[in-house]
Structure formats: structure tokens, C-alpha cells
Subunit: 662 residues, 2 copies
């Protein structure tokens, strides 16, 4: 058995080597003319500056929490695991972002020199570095830590490390990118009437930096924590399975390792096939990786348990994940009725656009919830709470390729921006736009996975928490549990209010700055004066860092506060309440935002009046409202619900010791 | 003890007599010139036509459910109670609406002839008929039914009757009023540039009818069901209290009866004081009624139980209700920062107006939830689940005056409309506008009560359900409960999606019709041709009736379906999930809507650019989005969560017998 456990970090390293190989390959490509290099450098520097500033704040936060864990739970090993998890999450985010900022300009250049196939290959390679880093560091870290300590209990610390970084990366990155985006759009596109990514717009570099720190680094950290959380909860619950404890730990771990291998193969498939239909290629890679995972799951289940129950649980999760992805696509892609309906409702103005977009987002919660419920029902029927954790592992088994496909989108988007800013011919922009459009659709699938897996992971972590505090029963009829449920259900609303206000405030500063530059430097619009990009970058950076503190602290203090005041059962109620209301809010906000975005694009393609019409203006309003919905508040809630559960899990000893002050 | 129980229906009849007296008094007032009479008649006829059309559909629904209850639970007495509850709710709504449609024109005339004091008195009298009918019929019905049967078990049928009518009245009325309102505003105010309530607008009568069927009849039915639900659950849980069963039943019933008396006194206070500061008078009446209720509560608690525990629970509920009202006012009144912030954000366009309005609505969930939690904590500490039910009764004890103050708003609003349409002098409109503005603020308090009491009532009914199916434990860690939680939390989102889409669709038909009339009858705008009001009334009526079916059926089938498929515990999870997510959605949507409405009015008063500015246009968008939020979807969710719980309670025997098919 020991040699099997040894294989896990090795598989992780294998994934990391693949990432390294891809990263080196990208760097060998041509990065275009001087103008392109200059722009790419500005974007890369802005992104790096933001991440380093963020890390400085996180260092303080991580050190404080390290001491809290150590003194609060008396488990310094957990505290070390926490540091380790935070470090690996940071590394995954950093390398992923680095590769994205080197792939963007090379994708543009490849589109110029060679066309679609080569451009797709570079953009996807860039994304796959992120994907492999997320899964590789996850597997490597957990595998190594378990091999060294043989203690599943301390792994929750590792998971907390991942979650803490994820929260700040998502919230900070989300505020950054949307402040820049909204600011650039409202003044540039609407007021000054210049196109998107026009180099005369002072916020244009900040906007492109935002894509990298929000959509790449933030999303990577998000899935890293889901991945780690699902694995840790499966191992924790597996360890408690009667009579087969080691197998219960080994199964999810090895499955994750082998799944990483499946994803490497899927990535190679994309890179060798390439071709003129990127959408088909990317989907095929995802589906074939998933198929390989299922084969591994059945083989491992038979090998470890002599039955197929574990494989059924994994299958239920994986299929639910794919189905949620498909449903998300239905509600957010302009090929289907919902988005067309929003476009039609935009004809009567922004109010009806907003109402119909929200109605569609709310309606889109129904099917995913039924799918999650079916996955819970099946996986619990075969293996109890452990089954639910395995369903989460199954859903996340293809993380490496999901992240690759997801991170590919912003790279293509950035490539388009660079093409625009450096004045490359129209055809180049045309290719990158096509790549970007495909990225939007595949990203919808990725978002579906992120939400579905967050729900199952949080549930599995929740079950682990109950075990850790020795609860077999969290009774809704108990008034304390009930109070917990109410407060928990309220937190995602409060949290979303904070993050949305933050985007508003930050966007407001950005708008003022861009207006100021246009006013004070009239040469900008005539092309005789250079705009001051740096001030805009610095406004986004400062606003994001300042605004991420309150939501971050709320996420840590709320569960601790209720746990210490009202006891472990009440905290259980809080986690359950936050889970169910948070999942709804996350689906609602992400899908409304995605649908508005694509409704606007649909109108821009010439439907319902086309670009420049009143319908289009109304659709732009929806898109702007949708920006913080889909890229800041919605995805942050995913992390909120997991982070609070992990906090509860790690601080379980303290909460049990205090036992509720009131 | 029997003579005490006899006193209850008598107190109910007393309230009804007061309503009758007020109603007669209104009819004696002068109803103005011919033009006013004609308009008032059109409004009254439209409202009556809608209610009768609604009753026809409800008759079919009520008969079906009567048979389902009879055959499903084998308790035909419950089925009869159901009919009785439905009938009384209908009567309360009908009489309230009748008095509102006779008070509106007389308020306008009084404002013209005598000024503020007399106008306030008539408008409030009109509202108080509704208030007294709600509480009077409630007390009378429950009191009589209990006196005759001495069986608390069958009262849940009565409660279900009230809830069924409430759902359709709220959803149907809400769709009606908002379709007409949005349609009238978008074409009349925005496109044709004519003022609100201009007689040239074909949708203007439909809009005024909507105020009566939605804001008066719908709201009355809503509070009738809360009132009845709280009483029934308190009596059910009180009956199970060890050793003091009869006292446990008698206490809430007598308290409600005496509270009605307190509200009659409060109403007389308003009518005798009147005066130039309507806001102060209305608030004073509410507070003094509440104080009288507390005195009764302490006296009755001492008398029945020889301790003050029950009084403490009542006090906790009542104070929480008043505090939630104050918080609601803070978030939705233009005297405070949140609304001013929305007005400021409107300067950068509709998108930022929408984002900030939603953020404020979401943020406004926090304090009310903490207040509800504190009320739960205190009331449960003193008397367990019975205490929670008593807190709900306490919160609703002042229903008669809350409804009076709430229904007064639309009457004043209608009076203003009639003044405008019949060309009364500017000063008249000025007085009615002042009365209306006060109504908006006091209505905010009423909404706070409605939401807070819905939460506590649903919780108390939930506890009764658990008793009825014999569950002492609903364990969140059980996968079926967990599935129930997820699906339950999703239902308010799906339900809101339906109701919002319905408003969109109905408003769309209304807009087309108004545009058609303006196009085909150019004489309308010049004043030479009369618009066709009836077609608009008929569009709203048909749309409301058609669109209320799906949400109504969903509310009945979802709990039954889960209960029969997955069993009683899973249904418990569903109810808990729907409760917590529904309360958040209701607060969020109501407060966002109220805040947008008042932000628009604040801008119209001349702030941030004033009427006609771009800021104003942006604020109008928010107001239009807020319309279905605050008057259709938000309040309907209140009823949804109670109705589903009552369905579960009534069908408990069936659900236990089937025991979960899966």
C-alpha cells in the first residue's frame, strides 16, 4: 500500500512537468513586433505587481491565522499544513498567471502569422499550464503531506490554506477586473465612443490585467480549493469507513492522480488535433478525459473494495457535473431561447432587459439543483456520506482540463486586446474573436462544474465537520440550529452586497480617473498624447486590495463567532444555511451575468436592432450589471461556503472545548 | 373556561361591527362631481370584475383541494374548515376592496372641500375596514370553529384555506397591478411624455384598479393568512404543552381577541386626533396599540400560567416586528443614506443604479435576520416551540392597525389619481401626494411586519408539522433532508422567476395595446377622442388570471411531491430550505424595490439633477425593475413559504401513511 501512496505525489510531479514543458514551449514562440511586446510587458507587469501586493497582505493574514490555528486547536501540524496549502495555491496561481501573460501576445502573433490552428494551440497551452499547476500542486501537496504524516486529520489545515488564498484571489481579482472593465467601458465605449481595447483608453491596460488576475489567477485558486477540499473530505470520511480505512483514503487519492494523467492525455489530444472547429476539439478533450476517468474509477473501485459502489458514486458526480455544464450552456449561450428572450426584452428598454435576465438566472437554479440532488441521492445510497465526497471528487476529477479550457478564454480575449491596441490587421482580431467566443461557451461549462463541485465539496466538508465535532445529528427543530440556518442563509446575501458595492465604488474611482485624463489631456483622443495607464492600474490594485478585507474577515469570523457563541450544532445550521442559499445565489448570479453578456453580443451580431440601436444600449446595461454578478459576487460565494466549512472543520477542537458561551 | 372561549368570536364580531360602522360612515361622505363619480365607478367596476373572475377560478381550485383533503387525509372536518377559511379570507378581501374603492373618490373630494385632516380621516377609515375585516374574520372564524369542534387538529384546514386564497390573491393581484403600472409608465410617461394618471393614458384605469386588487385585496389576504397561521400554530403547539393544554390554546386566542380591541382603540385615536402631521398620528396609533397589546399579554400570561413566560415570548415577537419595521424604513426611505446612495449612483446611469439597489436590498437582510434570530432565541428559551409561535402571534397582534395603515396608502394614491384624471385643482393633488408619501413610509413598516411575521409563522407551522408527522428530529446530515433543503431553497428562486416573467409578459401585452391605441386613435392625445380603458383592464385581468396558475400549482405540488417521494423528513428539509432562502429573497426583493422607488422620488424632488435629467431616467429604470420585485415576487414569497408548510401540515396523515415511495 505504501508504494501506492508514493505514486500519488509522483503523478502530481508528472503533471507539473507537463506544465513546465508547455510553459517552455510557449516562451519559444514569436512574441511579435515591438509595439506588441511593449503592451504585453505592461500587462504582465501590472498583473505581477497586483499579485505581489496581494501576497504581501495575504502574508499578514496567513501568519495571523497560522497562530490562531496553532494556539486555538493545539495542532501545530495542522497549522503547518495550512501554510503549505496556502503556499501551493499561491504558486499555482502565480505560474498560471505567468504563462497566461506570456501566451496572450504569442497567440496574437500566431494568429497573424499562421492562423487559427496555431493560435488555438498556444492559447490552450497557456491555459493548460494553469490547469496542470492546479491539479498537479494539489495532488503533490496532499499526497506528500499524507505520505509523511499518515494523518488525515491535519489535512483540513491544508484545505484551509487553499481556501483562504482562494477567497482573497477571487474577491480581490474579481473586484480588480470588474472595476477596470466597467470603468473602461462606461467612459470609453459609451461616453467617448471609442471601441473596446482602444489604446487611447487609459483604463485599457488595467482591463487586460484584470482578465489575468481575475479570470485566470482567481479562477485557478477557486478550483484549487474545490479540488483540495473534495479530496480532503473524501479522505477524512474514507478513513472512518469501517474496516477499510486505508482503502477509503487511497481510492480518492489515486483516482485523482490517475485522472491527472487522463487530463494530460486530453490536453495532448487538443494540441495534436487542433483544427478549425475549436469548440468541438475542446469539448472532445473534456469528454474523453472524463471517459478515461470513469475507466480508472471502475478499475480502482474493483481493486480496493471488490465492488463497484465507489465507482458509481464517482460516476454520479461526474455525470451530474457534465449535465450541469450543459444546462449552464443552455441558459447562457445565444444559441438557445433564454438569451434570445433577453435580447427581445431589451427592445422595450433596460428595465425589461434587467427583469428578464434576473428571471432567467433565477429559473436556471432549478435543473442544476435537481441534478445535484440526484447525485447526492445516488452517491449516498451506495456509500453514505463518503459517497457524497466521492461524487465531489468525481465531479472535480477533470479539473486540470476544465481549468485549461477555462483559462484559455481570457488568454484569447487578451490576445484580441493586444491585436487591437497594436493595430494588427482586422483578420487577426477576427481569429481571436472566434477563439474568445468559443472560450465563453466552454467557460460556461467550467462555471457549471465550479458551482456543482462547490455544492458537493461543501457538503462533504460539512459531513467531515460533523464527524470532527462528534455530531451524528443536527436537528433543524432545535432553535439554535434554526438560528444558525437563518444567519447562514443570510451570509451569501450580505457577502454579495459587499462585493457588489466594492465593484461599484472601485468602478466609480476608475470612471473619474479616465474622465480626468480625457479632460486634462485632450491630445489622447487625437492620438498625439499617451494616456497614463499606470494610474489606472494602480487605482484598480488599491481598490481591490482595500475592498477584499471586509468580506474576507466576515467569512472567517462569522462561523467562528456563531460556533463559539451558540455551539457546534448551531454552527452546523449556519453551514447548511449558507450552503443552500449560497449555491442558489451563485447559480443565479453567474447565469444571469452570462446570459446578459451573450444577449449583448447577440444584439451586436445584428439581431433585434443591432449595434448602436436603443436595444443595444439596453443590452449594454444588462451586461454591465452582469459583470460583478458573474465575475465577482457569484464565483466568490462558491468559495465563501467552502471556506466557512473548512474554518469550522479546522477549529472544531476549539468549538467543542468552548461548547457555546450563550 | 367555556365562557372565555365564547368571548373570542364575540370580540371578532365587535371588530367586524366597527368595520361596518366605518364603511357606512364613508358612504355618507360626498363623492364629488360627475366626472369623479364616473372615474371612481370605472375603477370600482374593474376591481370587482377582476375579483369575481378570480373567484371563479378559485372556486374550481378550492373544490379540488377540498376533495383532495377529504379523501387524502380522511378528515372531512378539516376539509370543511378549509372551505370556511377560504370563504372568510375571500370575504375579508372583498369587503376591504369595496371600502377602498368607495373611500378613494371621497378622499379626493374631502381634500378639495376640507383639506388634509378630513382627507386623512376618510382614507384611514377606508383602510381600517380592511384591517378590521382581516383581524375580525380571523378571530371570529377560528374562535367559532374551535368553540364548536374543540379540536385544534382540524384548524390547520382553516389555515390552508386562508393560505390558498392568499397565494392567488397576492400573485394574481401583484401581476395585475404591475402589468398595468409598468405598461402605463413606459408608454405614457416615457414614450408619450404625459404625466402619471393622465386621463389620456388608456392604461390609467387599469393602473388604479391594480392598486386596489394588488395592494389592498392582495395585501389583506396575505396578512389574513399570516394572522390565522400564527394563531393556529400557537393553538396547536399550546395544546401539546404538558399539563396546561387548555390554557395553551386559550392564551393566544384571547390575546388576539383583546388585541383587536386595542387596535379599535388605536383607530379611534387616529380618527379623533387627525391633524396636520399624518405620519406622526399613524405611528402613534401603531405604537399605542402595541403598548395596549403588551399590557393584555402580561395580564393574560399571569392569569393563565401564573408566570410571565408567555408574555415575554409575545413581547420578543412584537418588539422584533417593530424593530424590523424601523430597519425597513431605514433602507427604503429617502431620509437615510441607502436611498441617497442609489440616487447618487444613478448619475452614472441605469447600470450603477441597478447594482447599488440590489446591493442595498441584499445588505438589508442582515439586521432583520439578526432580530428574528434574537426573537427565536428568547421565545424558545422561555417556552420552547410554543414560545416561537407566541412570538409570531405577538408580532401579528397589531395586524388590524398595520393593515389599516398599509391599505390607507393605495387609497390616498387612488385619490390622487382621481384628482388628476378629473382635473381637480393642484392643491388637491398636493394634499393627496402628502398623504401618499406618508403611506409609503408606513407601508415600509407594514412590509417589515409581513416578512418578520411570515418567518416566525412559517417556523411555528413547521414545528406543528413536525409534531403532526411525529418527528422530533429532522437531521441535516441525513441525505434526504439535505436534498429537501436544496430543493426547498431553490423553490423561492424558481417561484420568483415565474412571477417576474409573468409581469414582463403581461406588461408587454399592455405596452402593445397602449401603443396601438395611441397609433390608431390620434385624437386621444389631443383630447378629442376617449381612450378605450376597458381593453386595458381586460388585458391585465386575463394575464393575471392566466399567469397565477403555474406558481400556484407549484406551491401545492412541490411539498406534496417531495413528501410522497422521499418521506416526511425530506419534506421537513424542504420546508426549512424554502423558509430560510425565501425570507432572504422576500426581504431582498421588497427592500430593493422600495429603495429604487424612493430613490426615483428623491431625484424627482430635485436632487442629483432632478426630474428630466439623465439621472432621473436611470432612476426610473430602477423603479421599473423594482415594481415586480416589491409588489409581486417579494410579497408572494412570504405566502409561498407559509402555504407550503400548511400543505405539509394538512396532508401530514397522507405523507405518514405513504412513508416515501423512493
Amino acid at each position: 500500500m505504501d508504494s501506492l501512496f508514493f505514486a500519488v505525489p509522483v503523478l502530481g510531479v508528472l503533471g507539473l512537468l507537463f506544465a513546465l514543458f508547455q510553459g517552455q514551449k510557449i516562451l519559444k514562440e514569436d512574441s511579435g513586433n515591438e509595439r506588441m511586446k511593449e503592451i504585453a510587458k505592461a500587462i504582465a507587469e501590472g498583473a505581477e505587481a497586483f499579485l505581489f501586493a496581494e501576497y504581501r497582505i495575504l502574508l499578514f493574514f496567513v501568519c495571523s491565522l497560522f497562530l490562531c490555528i496553532g494556539f486555538g486547536t493545539k495542532s501545530w501540524l495542522s497549522a503547518v499544513a495550512f501554510i503549505f496549502g496556502a503556499l501551493l495555491s499561491t504558486l499555482a496561481g502565480y505560474f498560471g498567471m505567468r504563462s497566461a501573460t506570456s501566451a496572450n501576445v504569442r497567440t496574437a502573433e500566431a494568429a497573424r502569422q499562421y492562423g487559427m490552428k496555431k493560435a488555438l494551440s498556444i492559447a490552450f497551452s497557456g491555459g493548460s499550464v494553469m490547469g496542470m499547476c492546479v491539479a498537479g500542486f494539489g495532488i503533490f501537496g496532499i499526497g506528500l503531506f499524507y505520505m509523511l504524516t499518515k494523518d488525515v486529520g491535519v489535512l483540513s489545515g491544508f484545505s484551509l490554506g487553499a481556501s483562504s488564498i482562494a477567497l482573497f484571489a477571487r474577491v480581490g481579482g474579481g473586484i480588480y477586473t470588474k472595476a477596470a472593465d466597467v470603468g473602461a467601458d462606461l467612459v470609453g465605449k459609451v461616453e467617448a465612443g471609442i471601441p473596446e481595447d482602444d489604446p487611447r483608453n487609459p483604463a485599457v491596460i488595467a482591463d487586460n490585467v484584470g482578465d489575468n488576475v481575475g479570470d485566470v489567477a482567481g479562477m485557478g485558486a477557486d478550483l484549487f480549493e474545490s479540488y483540495v477540499g473534495a479530496l480532503v473530505s473524501a479522505m477524512t470520511l474514507g478513513f472512518l469507513l469501517e474496516g477499510k480505512s486505508i482503502e477509503g483514503v487511497a481510492f480518492p487519492l489515486l483516482l485523482a492522480g490517475l485522472s491527472l494523467l487522463a487530463c494530460v492525455l486530453g490536453s495532448i489530444l487538443v494540441l495534436t488535433l487542433g483544427g478549425d472547429n475549436p469548440s468541438k476539439v475542446l469539448k472532445m478533450a473534456s469528454y474523453s478525459s472524463a471517459a478515461a476517468v470513469l475507466i480508472f474509477a471502475f478499475a480502482l473501485s474493483q481493486y480496493f473494495f471488490r465492488d463497484l459502489h465507489a465507482a458509481f458514486a464517482v460516476t454520479a458526480g461526474l455525470i451530474a457535473g457534465l449535465a450541469i455544464g450543459a444546462v449552464t450552456e443552455y441558459y447562457t449561450s445565444s444559441s438557445y431561447n433564454p438569451v434570445k428572450e433577453i435580447a427581445k426584452q431589451s427592445e422595450t428598454g433596460p428595465a425589461t432587459n434587467i427583469i428578464s435576465g434576473m428571471a432567467i438566472g433565477m429559473r436556471s437554479t432549478a435543473v442544476p439543483i435537481v441534478l445535484i440532488s440526484v447525485a447526492i441521492f445516488i452517491s449516498y445510497s451506495v456509500l453514505g456520506l463518503y459517497g457524497i465526497a466521492l461524487a465531489a471528487v468525481g465531479m472535480l476529477s477533470t479539473t486540470a482540463i476544465t481549468v485549461a479550457v477555462d483559462a484559455y478564454g481570457p488568454i484569447a480575449d487578451n490576445a484580441g486586446g493586444i491585436a487591437e491596441m497594436s493595430g494588427l490587421p482586422e483578420e487577426v482580431r477576427c481569429i481571436t474573436d472566434q477563439l474568445d467566443a468559443v472560450g465563453n461557451t466552454t467557460a460556461a461549462m467550467g462555471k457549471g462544474f465550479a458551482i456543482g463541485s462547490a455544492a458537493l465539496t461543501a457538503l462533504a466538508l460539512f459531513a467531515s465537520y460533523a464527524q470532527a465535532v462528534g455530531l451524528n445529528n443536527i436537528n433543524v427543530l432545535d432553535s439554535r440550529v434554526c438560528i444558525g440556518l437563518f444567519i447562514g442563509a443570510m451570509l451569501p446575501f450580505l457577502f454579495s452586497a459587499f462585493t457588489m458595492s466594492s465593484v461599484s465604488k472601485a468602478a466609480f474611482s476608475m470612471i473619474s480617473e479616465v474622465r480626468r485624463q480625457f479632460r486634462e489631456k485632450p491630445g489622447i483622443m487625437e492620438g498625439t498624447e499617451k494616456p497614463d495607464y499606470k494610474t489606472c492600474v494602480s487605482i484598480s490594485t488599491k481598490a481591490a486590495l482595500r475592498e477584499m478585507i471586509v468580506p474576507g474577515v466576515l467569512a472567517v469570523l462569522a462561523p467562528l463567532g456563531i460556533g463559539l457563541l451558540l455551539g457546534a450544532e448551531s454552527l452546523g445550521g449556519l453551514l447548511a444555511g449558507a450552503l443552500v442559499s449560497g449555491v442558489m445565489m451563485a447559480i443565479f448570479m453567474s447565469n444571469s451575468g452570462g446570459a446578459w453578456d451573450n444577449a449583448k453580443k447577440y444584439v451586436e451580431e445584428g439581431h433585434n436592432g443591432g449595434k448602436g440601436s436603443d436595444t443595444h444600449k439596453a443590452a449594454v446595461v444588462g451586461d454591465t450589471v452582469g459583470d460583478p454578478f458573474k465575475d465577482t459576487s457569484g464565483p466568490s460565494i462558491n468559495i465563501l461556503i467552502k471556506l466557512m466549512t473548512v474554518i469550522a472543520l479546522v477549529f472544531a477542537p476549539l468549538i467543542v472545548a468552548v461548547g457555546g458561551i450563550l
